[in-house]
Amino acid sequence: MPSLTIDAARSTVQQRKTTALALAESHYARIEKEDRQIGAYLTLCKERALDQADRIDRMAAEGKPLPPLGGVPVGIKDVMSTRGVRTTAGSKILGHYIPPFDCTAVARLESAGAVVLGKTNCDEFAMGSSNENSAFRPVHNPRDLTRVPGGSSGGSAAAVAADMAVVALGSDTGGSIRQPAAFCGVVGLMPTYGRVSRYGLIAFASSLDHIGPLAKTVKDAAIVLRTIAGRDPMDSTSADLPVPDYVAELEKSVCGLRIGVAKEYFAEGLDDEVRHAVESAIDKLKSLGCEVVPVSLPHTPYAIPAYYLIATAEASANLARYDGVRYSYRAPGVKTLSEMYRRSRDEGFGAEVKRRIMLGTYALSAGYYDAYYLKAQKVRTLLTRDFDEAFRKVDAIVTPTSPTAAFRLGEKSNDPLAMYLADIYTVTADLAGIPGISIPCGETKEKLPIGLQVLGKHFDESTILRVAHAYEQAA
């Protein structure tokens, strides 16, 4: 079972060498054994998984061709709604929430035959870079249990890395797919904003939220993207553009592609071992026939401050819905409506969520709107122009995913600013809405995975997948 990929899983089920039921059960057995230490899953949905597995097995028995993810066991980050299955967003305030509908991305995966094993742990409302902000329990990195798996999709990354799922869905608002992928040594893809419907994704910052896959191989990420991408009438921001065959595109040569390298992503704060690994990866791409071109992204140092104003402002509005009336936690013994709001939110939200609601509310409040929120939106324009300019000269940009490998649990949890800086190389893509992928590119002396990030033009996932695939095959 270790390192089982989508095609391997699907074809063994298709050829009746195993059954989807047996695959699901072997994954549950592994979860039973391993997840006590790791903490990747918050909720398992065995009934739903076994029903779907049974459906796939009947198809295979009848000799029907299985759909692209037929019988493939998957994990779903617990910010995506699953009908009838508890969906908490890692928060106590949604601790008992049972959605009455499915997230579009989840529904599309299941229509393509995927077997949803359960809901993966994450930072509360996807706010965090270490998974220590989960209201239920932190996740431990399968590669070193004393380290964090990254965040906020730490449960999804850890589940894939520990073979407790073949692939998983995560969400990325500031780096939450790519950074945990780098920390856990797996592939993480954030598609272009609008490429994948956000319908049913519990909102953090609506102009920055993206759904995407965490996988063991670039090809698996491409298969999942092909399945979940495309216009959805339930999300008006999902783009009305055709979806290419990402898997077929993988095989095109990278020879002659122009790869940008920006000095701003190799500045102070970058760990030496990470720098060396990324530089070697760039040399490898050169040896594959890519042309390496220096580019400049001069506003990069302003990305984190702009991000933390925009993301928190949007979050403060989105999280106003948790009022203790319709579906969220209500504090007991409250006497008035306003006491109900305050005490329910006070008891239901964790420290980081409250901090971000406060920062966002402050940035939007009378007298500060222009100085903070509007200023940040203007800087967002400058950051996007940087990429527009660079992509006139190159087809993709290669950077480190994170300035360091996985840090220790507790190492940054008392310093919010230090934690925010873990996203320094990832937030720019969220702000500009461009796609990015993180793939493993070696290890530190302590055997911790290092991530290589490839950024692309809007709606040009094909090129970054192709570069990532070529590197993965050569490495």
Binding site: M340, R343, K378, T381
Partner: protein, 112 residues
């Protein structure tokens, strides 16, 4: 210090958060530390830069039109049962902390 205890109390009020006195003290410290860092945005002259609220209006929209007209593809007919059937009353109330089968129930609204 940009943010005082008084500011924190005011913002907590706007955000419908109560916050214990320890939380308020921590919030003053954390918000000031974050805002100090955020201040570096003022190094940039943005007087002639348009704000960017979203990326959606760059791709797949009708570039020849303005404002919400650009998003004409997303228009939907106003019909009783649209893309998805409305939730049944039972389903809509199922997650409520307190409901009577017809309505959500909340504590007294008028405080007097």
């Amino acid at each position: 210090m940009k943010v005082t205890e008084k500011d924190v109390a005011y913002v907590a009020d706007l955000a419908n958060l109560e916050l214990s006195s320890d939380e308020r003290t921590g919030m003053v410290r954390d918000l000031n530390s974050i805002l100090d860092y955020i201040d570096r945005l003022n190094e940039l002259d943005t007087s002639n830069v348009e704000p960017m609220a979203q990326v959606s209006d760059r791709y797949g929209v009708d570039q020849s039109r303005q404002g919400s007209e650009r998003f004409a593809y997303a228009n939907r007919k106003d019909v009783v049962e649209g893309l998805r059937k409305s939730l049944s009353q039972a389903a809509a109330l199922a997650n409520a902390p307190d409901a009577d089968g017809t309505f959500f129930r909340v504590p007294k609204v008028i405080e007097r």
